[in-house]
Every structure is written in C-alpha cells, then in structure tokens.
C-alpha cells in the first residue's frame, strides 16, 4: 500500500525534478542539488521523502551518499494505475451497454 506515498511524493514539482535527475543514473546529493533553485538541505529533505516512498535508494560511498531510482515504488504506482484503468474500462463497457438500450 505504498502507492499513496509515491503519489504524494511525486506531487511536488521540486521533488519531481530531483527524481528525474536520477533518471539517467545514480548521483551524490551535491550533484543532484547542483542546478536546482533550492538549497542543498531542501534536497536532502526531498530525497528522504522519495526514499520513504520507495522511489529512490541510497548507498554510502565514502563521505558521499549516492542516490538512485528504486523501481520498487514505481512498480506499485504503475500497478495501481493499471488496476484503475482496467476497472474504468469495465465501467465504460457498462455505460455503453446502458447507452445502447
């Protein structure tokens, strides 16, 4: 049931920007924060949220922490949407039925 957290995490623009920066591959915090319009501590806080949502993972590497996209949270989100999608398809069929008679 973590898709809720994932949704909430990705709702914020800055957090999305951070997440998308990790799309091409792992980065240490400093590099993530580089071009962003917010301070580095802010980035740290956002990374925390993304991590709690299962969207990113962290590994220590000397003095730096390297963050990378974690597929786990993404899977749950996709599944949720997929499930929803199927349900609405069913509902639309029922609608069409009702429309026909």
């Amino acid at each position: 049931m973590a898709y809720e957290e994932a949704l909430q995490a990705l709702a914020d623009p800055t957090r999305r920007a951070i997440f998308e920066r990790l799309r091409k591959g792992p980065l240490p915090v400093g590099r993530v924060a580089e071009g962003l319009p917010v301070s580095r501590p802010a980035v740290s806080q956002h990374l925390r949220v993304l991590k709690d949502a299962g969207l990113v993972g962290e590994r220590k590497e000397g003095t730096r922490r390297v963050y990378s996209v974690e597929r786990h949270g993404l899977v749950e989100l996709r599944q949720y949407l997929e499930r929803f999608w199927r349900d609405t398809l069913g509902a639309f069929k029922a609608e069409a039925e009702r429309g026909r008679r």
Copy 2:
C-alpha cells in the same frame, strides 16, 4: 503536460477516495459525498481539481451534475510513468555495464 496536475490531484487521500468512488461508474455529487468524512462543498472543490486535471468529466442532468472518470488524465499519467520506467531500465543496463568492467 497535464500529468503534473494529475499527480498533484491524486496525491490527496480524500480526492483519491472520490476518484475511486467514480471507478465503478458515474455519480451525481450528492452520491459521491455520501459516505465521505467531509462536507459536500469540500467534495465539490475536490471534483473541481480532478476535473482540471482531466481525471473526471461532468455532465449536467437536470438539477444534478453527474461526474465520471475521464480517461484522458489517466492516459497522460500512465504515459509519464511508462516513459520514466523505460528510461530507468536503460540506466540500469548502463549500471550493469559499468559494474561488469
């Protein structure tokens, strides 16, 4: 580029509850609000947000307004996630490459 709005819309629990109530088929506002822990005006406001995000549609039917799931917003969201998913797959392959040497 409306997937941002869709994400933000679905981030709120109450709004999700509303959205999911429409999953099985169209409902007038009153019916949507029925079992929810918030007032009817609150529901109206949430429906507005969902509508702006392209997630629900509205049709007037006498004195009542019937809301239903709009696939449009859902499509954009799915596409966004799908795109992201593919990109990270690429990144993970690159990672594996790097790991191998």
